[in-house]
Symmetry: C2
Subunit: 150 residues, 2 copies
Amino acid sequence: MSNSLGLGREVTGSLGYLLKHAHLELDALMTRALEPLGVDPRSLGVLRVLASREPTSQQEVAQLLSVDRTTMVALIDSLERQGIVSRTPLPGDRRRNVVELTTAGLDVFARAEAASHAVEHEFVAPLAGRDATVLREALHTIVTTDHPDA
Amino acid sequence: MSNSLGLGREVTGSLGYLLKHAHLELDALMTRALEPLGVDPRSLGVLRVLASREPTSQQEVAQLLSVDRTTMVALIDSLERQGIVSRTPLPGDRRRNVVELTTAGLDVFARAEAASHAVEHEFVAPLAGRDATVLREALHTIVTTDHPDA
DNA sequence: TATTGTTATACTCTATAACTATA
DNA sequence: TATAGTTATAGAGTATAACAATA
């Protein structure tokens, strides 16, 4: 999917168009950069949650990432098959799976984060001055705002 | 899909997360605002292209929006059924369909654009000062940049 | 032979409902 | 009975291949 070839601002100026295409492009770059490590942008999101807090249940990870718990099953299946995370029944409540990064997973995570930061840096490189920071902060403000009419 | 409840910046600070969730939220707001008019954000994109240039073939509209021509068929089918656009074989090359806004379509388009602008305005309302403008310009710069490694 | 629009088909992503095992 | 994980299934959205009409 290539972008705006003969489109004027009437079309490309829409915020929806801009957000969608910016995301698509970043996601493609990210996917390619992470490929050699065996992970993709979505599973890197899972690793980030696992790395940033105490061992959590599958469902908690799913809720934190706003992903359906049924979707999380396949995601963690794949990471487990790769030896990146482990599933262990929680002693005390054996319905729950404790999901943790393995030692190998910690290494993959570190390298994936490095690759991810490099891609993001390259992605915002064309922006001048503090614009990259403003962009990030503005998006964060918007995403953490509760938009009504829901 | 609700957003960040207990997520730290380790996760929500990723540009990919921010772009994806900002888009999802805006798209949901836009969908709801356009619903009474019988259009959705994607078909509004089609209307924008049709309104901003000389009558074009289906394929040209598809290329301009980076949408597959087979996807465009269903999109225009729906708009045609609603009486918003018309398809006419191009005299001179009857393989091509000239796609145009009907009179009713022009009215729908005008009202959809008004609704769209209102939603975008509300969406960036939490941003201070010129940040909304910087956001828009930064995204435009990124989207029109040719990112290599493709 | 190449091109536009179309249909049929498949693949991805995601969500809903139902099942199991635990509680 | 309620909950975590799982499975099966279905619905969007999109892409690929093949076909008809036209050039």
